[in-house]
Subunit: 329 residues, 2 copies
C-alpha cells in the first residue's frame, strides 16, 4: 500500500512564511504526524520545500484527506478571513494574536466550526499561548498578587517593519530588551509599579540609504507613537552586511512573573520563562502540539472553537494518560 | 437566612497539620468558597482554629453538606486509606506524592469515586502538580530535548517526616538544596548528564531523643531508600531549641527546565520556577484552585479520578471563559 499512514494525524499548513516553515520542521519531530500538503497563495512551483505544495485555490480538494490545518498567516488580514473559512472545511489551529479582537475572532471561528462539524483551537503559540496559560494558572493559585510580563531579548517583526517604512531606511531589525533591574525587583517580591518604558528598552539596528540625514531618521524612530515614543529607544546605524551577518536570526523569549501573598504575609513567586533561539520554530512547535490536541477533541465528538484555556495538557502529548501519570506526574 | 451561602463551594479539610492550615488560609482568599468544617483525629476542642472542628469519626454526618473535601494527610499512610474511603462520600482533592505508587493510588480512588458517583483529583500541589504540568507541556512542545527538575532550597515535608519516623528521633527538618552550577549549565543549553546526586544536596537538622545512638540514626537516614540513599546527605544533630529558632519556617521552591532543539539546531529553553516563602500555604493554594476545578467537573456530571493532566486551566479560575479570553489570553 505505502504512502499515507492512516494512523497518523494528517496535517496541512496554510501559508509558508517563517511560521509555516517552523511548523514544517516541528511536524518532522513528531512521529505520530505527517505533513500532507502546504497551501500557498504564491506559485506552488516556486516554493523551496520538499513537501507537497498546493495553491490555496485548491484547498477544498483536500477535504477528508487532511485532519488538521495549521494556519500560519498573519493576524491583521489573513486570519480574520481564513480562520472561519477554513474551519468550515477542516479542524484548525492558529496563532491569532490581536488581543483586543480575540473574543470576536473566537466567535466567528466557533460559529463556522459548529455549523460544519469541525473543531478549532485559536490563539496558540507562546503569547498568546503558553504565557497566557501561565498568567491564568498563577492568578488562580495566587489571587492576591500582581502579574508582570516581560518580552525579549528578541526581534519584534512589527517594530522592525515600522522602522523599514520610514523614508530613507533600507532595512532594520528591532530588539525588545527587558530591563533587568525591573525584572529583579519583581523577582524579589517588591511589586514595583512599572510603566511600559520601565519594563523594556527598544534597540534598533538600521541600514540607511546612502546620503540620508541620519539624525532625521533617528528622530522619526524615537518619536514614533505607539511603537517607540513611550520607550527608551537606542538607534544604531550599521551596514547592510553587518545587519545580515549579526542580526538575521530570530531569537526571542520573555518572562511571566506573578508575585503574590498567602497567609499573613508569605511572599510567593511563580515564574515562567522562554529563551528561544528561533521564535518561529518554537511557535510552530506549540501549534503542532495543539494540532494533536484538537484532533483528539474532534475524535471525541467536540465541535466548535477552543483556546489553550480549554485544553488539558494531557491532550498535547502522544502518550497515554496512564503513561503520563507514571512518567511525568 | 444567613449562615451558609449555597452559591459558594463548600469545602472541608481533612487533617489539620501545616498543609491543612495552608488550605484554611487559601480558602479565605477565594470569595467563591467557604470553609464548612475541618476534620481531625485529635480532640477537636483542642485545635487552634476559629473554624468548625469536627472529629474524623463524624465525617459521614457531613455527606450532602460539603462539596469538596481537601485531604491534607500524608502520602505514606493517611492517603492510601483516606483517599478511596472519603471519595466514596465526597468529591476530593489531594496531594498524594509517592511517584512510584501514583497509578495504583489513582486506580483505587478512581474505582471508589466511580462506584459512589463522585469526582476526585489526585496528586495536586506543586510537585507533583505544577511541576508535572510543566514537564508535560515542555516535552510535548520540544520532543527532542532533555528535562531537568531542581528542588529547593527548601524544606521537604516528606523527607522531614521520613526522618521523624526513625526510632529515637524527636524532630527533624530536611532542606533540599539545588546545585547552582548544574542549574547554570542547563540554562545555557549544554544538556549535561546529571545524576540525582549531581543536582541536589540533602541537608538534615535532627533532634535526637536523649541517650540515642546518633551514628545509628545518621546511618538510617543516609541509607534510606528512595528518600536519601541516592543523594549527598548531610546530617546535623541540634537541640530542640535551635531547631525551633532557626528552622521553623517552611520556604521552598525549585525549577523545571527543558532544553530542546528545533529545526537544524536552534536551542530552545523553557523554564518554570517557584520561589516560595511558605511551602504549605502555596501547596494549599494549589489544592484550593483544584477544588474549584473538580467541583465544576462534578457539576458537569464527571465521576471518577483525574490528575492535573486532565484538567484545563480554565477550570481553575472563577472567571468565565469569555472573561479569561478577554483578560488573560
Amino acid at each position: 500500500m505505502g504512502g499515507i499512514n492512516l494512523d497518523k494525524i494528517r496535517v496541512g499548513i496554510v501559508g509558508y512564511g517563517n511560521l509555516g516553515r517552523g511548523v514544517e520542521s516541528a511536524i518532522r519531530q513528531n512521529p505520530d504526524m505527517e505533513l500532507a500538503a502546504i497551501f500557498t497563495r504564491r506559485q506552488p512551483e516556486s516554493m523551496p520545500s520538499t513537501a507537497k505544495m498546493v495553491h490555496m485555490s485548491e484547498i477544498d480538494n483536500y477535504i477528508g484527506k487532511i485532519d488538521v490545518m495549521i494556519l500560519c498567516g498573519g493576524s491583521a488580514t489573513d486570519l480574520p478571513e481564513q480562520g472561519p473559512s477554513i474551519a468550515s472545511m477542516f479542524h484548525t489551529v492558529d496563532s491569532f494574536d490581536r488581543h483586543a479582537k480575540i473574543n470576536e475572532y473566537f466567535d466567528s471561528v466557533d460559529a463556522s466550526a459548529k455549523k460544519s462539524g469541525h473543531a478549532s483551537v485559536i490563539s496558540t503559540g507562546w503569547d498568546p499561548g503558553l504565557f497566557s496559560l501561565n498568567r491564568l494558572l498563577a492568578e488562580a493559585v495566587l489571587p492576591e498578587g500582581k502579574e508582570y510580563t516581560f518580552w525579549g531579548k528578541g526581534v519584534s517583526q512589527g517594530h522592525s517593519d515600522a522602522i523599514r517604512r520610514i523614508q530613507g531606511v533600507n532595512n532594520a531589525v528591532q530588539y525588545t530588551v527587558p530591563n533587568e533591574e525591573a525584572v529583579n525587583l519583581v523577582r524579589k517580591g517588591e511589586n514595583p509599579v512599572l510603566s511600559a518604558r520601565d519594563k523594556h528598552l527598544r534597540e534598533c539596528f538600521v541600514v540607511a540609504e546612502p546620503g540620508e540625514d541620519l539624525s532625521r531618521i533617528e528622530k522619526e524612530i524615537t518619536t514614533m507613537p505607539d511603537y517607540f515614543a513611550d520607550y527608551e529607544t537606542q538607534v544604531h546605524f550599521i551596514s547592510a552586511e553587518e545587519l545580515q551577518e549579526k542580526h538575521s536570526l530570530m531569537p526571542h523569549g520573555g518572562l511571566v512573573l506573578r508575585s503574590g501573598i498567602t497567609g499573613a504575609a508569605s511572599k510567593q513567586i511563580i515564574e515562567f520563562g522562554l529563551n528561544l533561539a528561533s521564535n518561529p520554530e518554537f511557535t510552530g512547535s506549540v501549534l503542532v502540539a495543539y494540532a494533536r490536541a484538537i484532533s483528539r477533541f474532534a475524535k471525541e465528538g467536540f465541535v466548535g472553537a477552543k483556546t489553550v484555556f480549554d485544553i488539558p495538557f494531557g491532550y498535547l502529548s502522544p502518550k497515554s494518560a496512564e503513561q503520563l501519570r507514571r512518567e511525568l506526574l
